[in-house]
């Protein structure tokens, strides 16, 4: 009995996300792009007979990532040099160094786009040039088998006459213009709260007063609620890509803040057991924590201040930019279809 043949072959490349990942599979007559969200998969199919072109565009992502990882590794090494929590800083420096090494070994990054008769789509799983070229080595023979190869006569003809035009009804808008960003008040609120929390954390480094931790806890709690609402709103209202990404980063930042805050609070409770049964007393002890006491506390306060200020400022800038772009974009008249002539002649 013949073994059952698998319908798809997995192609190199996998792009992981916060929840889920993108992969690419080669079928008998089409490419299958899968966006897996763990418990749900979304599919996009590109038939070999429809593929017109595949683009690889080199990006600077590897350089930027290497720069950030290298900078962080150097920063942690510098902290270790000054004997500031050497075990922790050496560990962090080696993690960053390993990340940098892996990033360099995986090679330069790219964006891969596939073009068919009616659309041009990004293939997120192919984001390293080496991986993309490996995948294309498998894809191209399949497309050639279906379509044949490009001849010099085709190129000459295209040079003289130009490429064939699309049907009139599709020609009205060949390149889709970016949709104007929608208006949402929740994003500015979120970024303002992050900015205030960053300012409160920065102020708490210099002046130990109970007001600053109170403001910090209040703004962080409000920001947690706001970030959840903002993430839901992003699906309802068309929001600029940059703001969407920053909202997700804010979620990660807030989660880290909560974990860090909880850790510090537990530290305070265990070191001051006599205040453990009085919330306000514990909070007062918590607010009197001095960053000068321990480098780890300084790092926590610094992270909170720097993260809040950075996310808040960049977020508000993006919101303002999106607002001004929205004002500049005027509503376009919808493309009108020509009436089909009656053929009963």
């Amino acid at each position: 009995m013949a073994a059952s043949k698998k319908p798809y072959r997995r192609l190199p490349g996998k792009k992981s996300q916060l929840i889920g990942f993108h992969t690419l599979w080669a079928g008998e007559d089409h490419l299958l792009q899968i966006h897996s969200q763990r418990i749900r998969e979304e599919y996009k199919r590109y038939y070999y007979k429809d593929i017109q072109a595949v683009y690889l565009r080199q990006t600077a992502r590897m350089k930027i990532e290497s720069f950030i990882l290298g900078g962080l590794a150097a920063g942690f090494l510098l902290l270790a040099w000054f004997d500031l929590a050497p075990v922790w800083t050496y560990t962090m420096a080696s993690i960053m160094g390993a990340g940098l090494l892996v990033n360099l070994l995986r090679g330069p990054t790219c964006e891969c786009h596939i073009q068919t008769f009616v659309r041009r789509e990004k293939l997120p799983s192919l984001y390293r040039i080496r991986t993309a070229q490996k995948a294309l080595k498998i894809i191209k023979p399949m497309v050639y088998e279906t379509q044949g190869r490009v001849t010099s006569a085709m190129l000459e003809e295209a040079g003289e006459k130009g490429l064939p035009r699309e049907p009139p009804t599709l020609e009205s808008n060949p390149v889709p213009a970016p949709a104007p960003a929608g208006k949402s008040r929740i994003h500015p609120t979120l970024f303002s709260l992050l900015l205030v929390s960053g300012l409160a954390a920065a102020a708490d480094i210099s002046f130990q007063h109970v007001v600053f931790p109170l403001v910090w806890v209040g703004t962080i709690s409000a920001a947690v609620v706001c970030v959840i609402i903002a993430l839901v709103k992003q699906y309802e209202v068309k929001t600029a890509k940059g703001i969407q990404t920053l909202t997700w980063i804010s979620l990660v930042f807030l989660c880290m803040e909560l974990v860090m805050g909880y850790g510090l609070y537990m530290y305070v409770l265990f070191t001051n057991l006599d205040t453990a049964y009085n919330q306000w007393e514990s909070f007062l002890v918590f607010s009197s924590l001095s960053p000068a006491e321990k480098p780890i506390i300084f790092a926590a306060f610094g992270f909170s201040a720097a993260g809040g200020l950075l996310l808040g400022m960049v977020g508000l800038f993006l919101v303002l930019k999106a607002g001004s772009r929205r004002k500049a974009v005027r509503p376009r008249p919808s493309p009108t279809l020509e009436p089909v002539a009656a053929s009963d002649s």
Partner: protein
């Protein structure tokens, strides 16, 4: 579609792009490597509206009685004109059958997404173990999902049902564990 830079949307000349390696875009300067295929030089073509019936003995389309039928629908047998004939994997279908088949998930190649109940069962079996107490309830849900969706299709790329098996085993172990704990406490109290 035209050949365009994915970054700046500048129109690119196919002849200058049909060579291996990365070359800069003339406008934005980004390095591009473009592979071109013969379909780029073909037109999508316009759809045919269907021939008009000229003689009385010619069969008409079910949806457009004035148009000449060219083929029956492979699913329902209705006569179809050129306009209504939809070719899918060698089958000729009418728009209604295509829509019905798509809704019921009959055409694998038209499916845009699937829920993976095997992964859901496995996550429901594993994740609550972090918090211990939810495992009083979740094994029942896991077993229900396993039984209810055992025959439902998994990923289109084809995979076995080991996740269902593993999830059921874990759920069984959790139930056994709780049973042992309850019996122990009952013994202490009795």
């Amino acid at each position: 579609m035209e050949l365009r830079c994915p970054q700046c949307h500048t129109s690119l000349e196919p002849k200058s792009r049909h060579r291996p390696g990365f070359h800069p875009c003339p406008t934005c300067g980004d390095s591009l490597d473009v592979d071109i295929f013969p379909t780029l030089f073909q037109s999508l073509g316009e759809g045919t509206p269907g021939e008009v019936i000229l003689a009385d003995r010619e069969a008409g389309c079910f949806y457009h009685p004035g148009k000449k039928a060219i083929i029956p629908c492979s699913a329902c047998g209705r006569f179809l004109c050129d306009l209504c004939d939809l070719d899918l994997d060698g089958r000729h279908l009418c728009p209604a059958c295509l829509e019905t088949g798509k809704t019921r998930g009959k055409f694998k190649n038209l499916e845009q997404g699937r829920t993976l109940f095997d992964t859901l069962a496995l996550i429901l079996a594993l994740a609550p173990m972090l918090f211990v107490w939810p495992t009083l309830v979740t094994p029942f849900i896991v077993l229900f999902i396993t039984v209810r969706y055992w025959r439902s299709p998994t990923s289109v790329v084809g995979r076995t049902r080991w996740r269902f098996v593993l999830a059921s085993l874990i759920a069984g172990l959790q139930l056994t564990g709780w049973a042992v704990v309850f019996m122990h406490f009952q013994g202490l109290m009795g």
